[in-house]
C-alpha cells in the first residue's frame, strides 16, 4: 500500500475500503463481456485492483455495462441495478451505451443509457482493452475520492424522473417503485 494514503485511511476508512474492493456483477449485456474473462483471470489479474466478480447483485457494488443494451436487456439492467446495495457505481463500456454506436438506427437497441439509470463513467472504444478497464477503474477511484461518483445519490434524488423515463419506454414496468413519491 502506498504510504501517502495512510492518512486517507484514518480520515475515511469506509470510503477507502469500499474503493479498493469492487465487487462486479457478472452480467452479460452485450459483446463486451468477452473482455471480462481475460481481465479477471491470470493474464490481466484484476484482483490486483480489488476487482472480483460475484454471483449476485446483492453482494456487488460495481456494475459494468458491457456493450450494447437492447430494450429487453435494459429491463434486466434496471432490476439488477435496483437490487444492488448502496454505494453502487456504474461504468459503461464501449460506444454503444453512450449514443448507440453502430446500433444507432436499430429498432431494438436504446441509444443512450444515462436516460434510464445513472452512469458514473464511460470507457470509450469498441471494445475497450482490459488495460482500459483498469484505467477506468483508477479514474473511478479518483472520482470516489472527490465524491463525484454520486450516481446512486442522483438515482435516489431524481428517482421520479428516471422512473418516468423508464415508464415512457416500457409503457408498463412489472415491478413497484424502489423509493417513495415516484410519480411526477
Amino acid at each position: 500500500m502506498d504510504r501517502n494514503q495512510i492518512s486517507k485511511w484514518f480520515k475515511n476508512p469506509g470510503k477507502m475500503a469500499n474503493k479498493y474492493s469492487f465487487h462486479v456483477v457478472y452480467f452479460c449485456t452485450g459483446c463486451g463481456i468477452i473482455e471480462i474473462p481475460p481481465s479477471i483471470t491470470t493474464r490481466w489479474d484484476a484482483e490486483r485492483f480489488g476487482i472480483i466478480p460475484v454471483a449476485t447483485p446483492r453482494q456487488a457494488n460495481l456494475f459494468l455495462i458491457t456493450g450494447y443494451v437492447s430494450t429487453k436487456t435494459l429491463k434486466a439492467i434496471i432490476r439488477t441495478y435496483e437490487q444492488m446495495p448502496e454505494p453502487k457505481y456504474t461504468v459503461a463500456f464501449g460506444s454503444c451505451p453512450i449514443n448507440g454506436g453502430m446500433y444507432y438506427d436499430s429498432y431494438n437497441t436504446i441509444t443512450s443509457l444515462d436516460k434510464y439509470i445513472p452512469v458514473d463513467g464511460y470507457i470509450a472504444g469498441c471494445m475497450p482493452r482490459p488495460e482500459a478497464i483498469f484505467i477506468g477503474v483508477t479514474h473511478l477511484w479518483k472520482l470516489i475520492d472527490m465524491d463525484k461518483a454520486d450516481g446512486y445519490k442522483r438515482y435516489r434524488r431524481d428517482y421520479k424522473f428516471y422512473r418516468a423515463n423508464q415508464e415512457q419506454l416500457f409503457k408498463e414496468l412489472g415491478w413497484p417503485p424502489l423509493f417513495k413519491d415516484a410519480s411526477l
Binding site: T71, D105, Y107, N108, I110, N165, L184
Partner: protein, 175 residues
C-alpha cells in the same frame, strides 16, 4: 445430384432446378408444393432441416422463403460424400397476404424458425400451434425486418423522444 434431379423432375412438375459446385442444388418451386417436396426429400435421406429464412423483395411485392436441407453422412471413413450435398428450396409468396402452410408436420424443428419469421416479417404459418412472440419485447406497427420499416424514423420517435434527466427536471421545475 444428377440422379436426384432426374427423379425430382419425374415426380414433380413445377420445379426449376440448378446445380452448383456438384453438391449444391437450388430448387425454385411454388408454395403449394413445398410440403410434399420436403416430405419426398426427407424420405430420400435429407433428414437435417438446417434453416428456414426469408428475403423481402419489396420491388416485386414478394417474400422469398428459403428452406435449406442437408443429409447426415452415412459413411464416415470416406470424406467424399458428394452425392449427398445441400439442397436449397426457394418459394415465393405474395407480400400483401403473407400466408404459407407450416412445415412442422414434416420437420418439427422448424417451429422456432417459423415463430421468428412470424415475428420479424409478419408471415402467417397456417397450422402452427403457437405463433407467440419469441424474441421481441414490444409490438411494432410494421414487423421490423420488412424493408419498408424505417428504422431511423422509429428510433427518433421512440428512443429520441425520451428526454434526458436534466431536460425532464427542467420541464418539471418550470411547471
Amino acid at each position: 445430384m444428377e440422379e436426384l434431379k432426374k427423379k425430382l423432375l419425374a415426380y414433380f412438375t413445377d420445379l426449376t432446378i440448378q446445380i452448383h459446385d456438384d453438391y449444391r442444388m437450388c430448387i425454385n418451386t411454388q408454395k403449394e408444393t413445398v410440403v410434399s417436396l420436403l416430405n419426398y426429400l426427407k424420405n430420400m435421406g435429407y433428414e437435417h432441416f438446417a434453416l428456414l429464412s426469408c428475403i423481402d423483395w419489396i420491388d416485386k411485392g414478394e417474400f422469398e422463403l428459403i428452406y435449406i436441407l442437408s443429409a447426415y453422412m452415412e459413411v464416415c471413413d470416406k470424406y467424399q460424400e458428394k452425392e449427398q450435398g445441400i439442397i436449397i428450396i426457394k418459394a415465393r409468396i405474395s407480400r400483401d397476404d403473407a400466408k404459407v402452410i407450416s412445415v412442422i408436420n414434416v420437420f418439427e424443428n422448424a417451429e422456432p424458425y417459423e415463430r421468428e419469421l412470424h415475428e420479424m416479417f409478419g408471415i402467417k404459418f397456417e397450422g402452427h400451434p403457437r405463433l407467440t412472440p419469441l424474441m421481441l419485447e414490444r409490438e411494432y406497427e410494421i414487423p421490423p425486418f420488412r424493408k419498408d420499416f424505417d428504422t431511423l424514423k422509429y428510433v427518433d420517435n421512440t428512443f429520441g423522444k425520451i428526454p434526458s434527466i436534466e431536460e425532464r427536471k427542467a420541464n418539471y421545475e418550470r411547471t
